[in-house]
Symmetry: C2
DNA sequence: CTTGCGTTTTTCATATTTTGAAATAGGCTT
DNA sequence: AAGCCTATTTCAAAATATGAAAAACGCAAG
């Protein structure tokens, strides 16, 4: 993974790659991993020993390695610093109950969005998601709701020249996406109709902080069967908007 | 941080230390951090460049560095693999409502416990905690509830020879702690009376998986003023126990 | 109990990488 | 414009990481 800019300590990069590789699997053996990553046995052995010594990885009696929760712990502090989550949560619960749909709070992270909190609905027919889930910017309602309010320069950096196709409905034409983003800006909400995962739709609104900057997005993720246009317009979007505004007020109050 | 066992690639260890150092602060400048960590400017510069290239760190226009959510994202997958959380959450909500106290789900991680989920109570007088919080094994109800059911060998490894004192009430005598753990085993629940943080008490019960192994602990964290003995015995503990059993049943069912 | 294969761990000489001093370039303040 | 602090770049020296090969395991099958 990752490009190689001028200054780069190779060993650290390799170690981080190991971390990432491990996060893909329940657990892994040394030689398997070495093959998969193109590292020599001894090298990976030492990287893993270091990761283990630093507490990022655990080695079982059977010589299998797995991630500990240390990365998560470190990251949790970063998430906590965003704040927002505690203040948003009660509103998300209310929303999930009112709409009986799964509600997500997500933020921009790298070239995608990441779900930092969610509240499941009671409805047994629901989409499988989880806190920590990453979604593409151009293929998610959340992504579009955030993209639409970004400075143009940032947007250019974030959008790759070739938008990846995930389903038949994915918007891969840059101009078309920009048109849609303009529409999102006008309407104040974004939608995703099976553009990333078949059968999955969503509606999202931006969440602003006290200064009016968009810092996150609030969304409901809905199976296609329940995503009729009028329901979205008359039920989902108004409720989302109310919740987002309530969150902003909350943050503004708490902020001072 | 961290000891230096035989096999250890120094560069990776340094890079990980940088990650940890950054997690302590909102953001940091290069020279400050270099001083604080005892690294030379250029070295830290390269480590940060690598961390940035790999997406773990972001560099602002003003040359300030801060963690991204990448560590959290990686860790979130590990947490997700534990499962448990989704299944436990509804029971935790019920418990928080019933008792009007903050409920935590925590697991063993390194030489402490880490909160992997929580549900706040409505009561405005409550203890400040957060998902991702780490607590000492011997100074928390959760820690004791987990310790008590560990194989003796593991327990020996986990408990340092000198238990750290956090408050006047902290149990720092190993023999006393072992006696208390025996008591926890007998009673099936553990308590913490201001042993870690002044004013903060808690009661915890172990959570077992389908095989009967203790995999987590469920706890209520309560300000001292509400932690009367009879309340704990008659109200908190029975409710905790019911919830923990319900979670175990849930996990057992879902597992097959 | 032995043999043998696959894995992990250790050793070690070599090549590479990392390192920090010093020089350079930016920024910001006065 | 001068001064001070921080970030970057360069570069030769020094420390480190590297992988081949050897050694140690662990395990399954004979």
């Amino acid at each position: 993974m990752s490009i190689k800019p001028a200054y780069m300590t190779a060993t650290l990069a390799k170690g981080l790659d190991v971390l990432e590789a491990l996060s893909d699997e329940e657990e892994a053996g040394l030689s398997d991993l070495a093959r998969k990553m193109g590292l020599s046995g001894p090298t990976l052995f030492r990287l893993l020993a270091t990761l283990a010594a630093c507490g990022y990885v655990q080695k079982s009696a059977a010589n299998r390695y797995r991630l500990t929760l240390k990365t998560w712990e470190i990251g949790a502090r970063a998430v906590r610093r965003i704040g927002l989550r505690e203040q948003a949560h009660p509103h998300m619960e209310r929303l999930a109950t009112e709409l009986d749909e799964t509600v997500h709070l997500s933020v921009l992270q790298g070239d995608g969005i990441v779900v930092i909190d969610k509240v499941d609905c009671a409805n047994p027919v629901r989409v499988d998601t989880f806190v920590g889930l990453r979604a593409p910017l151009h293929g998610s309602a959340t992504g579009k709701a955030i993209l639409a309010f970004l400075p143009e320069a940032t947007l250019d950096e974030l959008l790759p020249s070739r938008l990846l196709r995930h389903t038949d409905a994915t918007i891969i034409d840059r101009a078309a996406l920009l048109r849609e983003l303009a529409q999102v800006r006008r309407a104040g909400w974004a939608r995703n109709r099976e553009e990333w995962r078949p059968g999955v739709c969503a509606a999202a609104v931006p969440v602003r902080d006290a200064t009016g900057t968009v810092v996150a997005a609030l969304s409901v993720t809905v199976p296609s069967s329940r995503f009729a246009n009028d329901v979205v317009r008359d039920r989902l979007v108004p409720a989302l908007r109310r919740a987002a505004e309530a969150i902003t007020r909350e943050v503004t109050r708490k902020g001072q």
